[in-house]
């Protein structure tokens, strides 16, 4: 990368020295650090106690509380469920990530497949269809790790309508369960808990400030 700013090793060194001097009496040596971290108290709830059915019901309830529209379908009906949502959206142009199953691109609509689309092209689309990495029932959160089927970040941001396909098997009950599912920390991640909102004016909650104003979820019952 082409960066012209002079490094300022002196401030770096000075800050690190000050930090080390400030904490020298409590800082752990390299070996002990691992153990000290492992010994941190973690008495909070890590895995939830809900049955499979109740877990999915909670996820759907939370999503609906946020004003998201949720429809359920069997693993065989995903295509039909998507088509129905598209038809009732009243929209015509959609962007999709390149990694999305081609079978989901219902004929009769205009599909722009994201092969380095520029922002203005994405902005002109009326909606976007993506997959997801995980759902967290406790808070109704949809987790995107922005893989090939989950789209680049900008795709789920500019269009006003987002249809997200979530599989029951991807839904966990608690946030710690999601972290346990990450074999490796994602480089990019977005956690969406309902459409964008603000309460900045007299604490009145207004939906849809900048992100998509409408969130639709197809819940695939594959468990």
């Amino acid at each position: 990368m082409n960066v012209h700013v002079q490094p300022r090793p002196r401030s770096r060194q000075m800050i690190l020295e000050r930090v080390r001097a400030a904490t020298h009496s409590v800082t752990k040596g390299a070996g002990e650090l691992e153990d000290a971290y492992a010994a941190l108290p973690r008495g909070y709830v890590r895995s939830g106690g809900l049955s499979g059915e109740a877990r999915i019901a909670l996820m759907i309830e939370r999503l609906r509380e946020y004003g998201a529209e949720v429809i359920e379908c069997g693993p065989e009906q995903v295509q039909a469920a998507i088509a129905a949502q598209l038809a009732s959206s009243g929209k015509h142009t959609f962007v999709v990530p390149a990694g999305l199953s081609a079978a989901w691109l219902t004929p009769g609509f205009e599909w722009k497949i994201d092969r380095d689309l520029i922002a203005s092209e994405i902005e002109q689309a009326e909606g976007v269809v993506t997959a997801a990495f995980c759902g967290v029932a406790d808070s109704g959160t949809i987790v995107l790790h922005h893989s090939a089927a989950e789209a680049r970040r900008v795709l789920t941001l500019l269009p006003d309508w987002h249809l997200c396909v979530l599989r029951a098997r991807q839904v966990v009950e608690t946030l710690p369960e999601y972290f346990a599912r990450c074999e490796q920390a994602p480089g990019l991640a977005t956690y969406i808990s309902g459409p964008s909102a603000t309460a900045d004016i007299e604490m009145t909650r207004i939906k849809g400030v900048h992100g998509p104003r409408l969130l639709h979820v197809v819940m695939v019952r594959d468990e």
Binding site: Y44, L175, M203, G211
Partner: protein, 485 residues
Amino acid sequence: MSHGSYHPILDPTKAPAFPSAVLPVLRNPQLRKNVAHAIDVIQAKRGKLVAEKTDWQELRTAGAAIRAHALENLGFYLEQFEERCTAAGGVVHWAADAAEARQIIVKLLREENASEVIKIKTMTSAEIQLNPFLESAGVRTYETDLAEIILQLGEDEPSHIVVPALHVNRSQVREIFSRTMGLKDLSDDPKELTNAVRTYLRRKFLDIPTAISGANFLVAETGSVVVVESEGNGRMCLTLPRTMITLAGIEKVLPRFQDLEVMLQVLARSATGERMNPYTSVWTGVKPGDGPQKFHVVLLDNGRSSILAKKTERQTLRCIRCAACMNACPVYRQTGGHAYGSVYPGPIGAILTPQLMELHHARSLPYASSLCGACYEVCPVKINIPEVLLELRSRVVNQGRDQAGRLFDPMYLGLRIASLIFSRAWLFHTAQFFGRVGLRFLRRKDGWIHSLPSIGGKWTQTRDLRGLPSQTFHGWWAARKRETK
């Protein structure tokens, strides 16, 4: 602007002391009503969502321990963050103080030939007074958080760290927007006001190629940065520009990615009374094809390492800026944020600001508290704010005292003598005896002392003192024992 005649000063080096800074607020019933309303709404939501969490105390314990561990080993985790962030294509800069941070940022902007920049709400940028500096360097700044827009367009200052414009009501917002955006027919419906902003900012997001953000967390293990928000303006700034500059205090580091499972759960509930905030973004350096292709992190010390050095005060740096302490504070509820003369108001401001100023300024803030402890009780990372307040009070007193002249200071002498007497039982009993004898002459028939001689007179100017009873409890207890034998 929205309070008529006065403009709040949020620069601790220039702001008046708290007791005089509160006066304009206490005389402004509209402002007080706006603040109280906002706080009641957040408090009610927070209370409900905290109550439903059966493991709330365990989450607080874990949150406090993770933050304390990160701070105790900050040198290690900062270097680890730098290494991982750099490996992922980010560039890490270190700023010892506010001036250096401003300089670094301006230099980066010059290299980008940036004449405009979009910003996500960051209190750290307000701490280093970045916007006025950039404007004077010829860079126009656009705040993109709704509340920050209200303040920027209304030439006002933040009064809260999560809902910075909570002191402004809808008709005041309407007035500001219609005046500055030229929208004559705007109503005061929050929905319409919000839509006006959506339209106003859409083009800016698409056109301005440089953005500045703060960070809620830095993750040492992965070199990632985490931003928590509601509106989506953050995602816009993090995704659309070519160049991204993140300004973060050195204390923001978490050891591992997984630590977010605790921090995110306590942050949203404490800050806005939600189970989870609408949008959380995690990114790591630069990802080809997705988001800004140049990424800089400026790590800011600005007094933090000296806070770290003090045992009691170190906990101040655990703060995750959720604002629960100010929402719970009976003083903040009456005064709002501006009186604290800093971008960090409320209980956290009362301990953080004087320390960032190394007690050269903001010396009245440690006294802006009733020490009721409500802030400690709600703090998701268990910062014992009252304990730090007391520590700072004693430092303020010691610092203000001329060490050589202290033997002539009646307050110092009085308290030294009192401490001598209270630590020895026989001296205490003797003093009690003489006190009773002495005060008897001042006691009136009604059993009260109405005026004390000398400096004691100041005290009795506005109150009466009950005369001491003829027998102490100790005396009565001893006599009673003798009788029952």
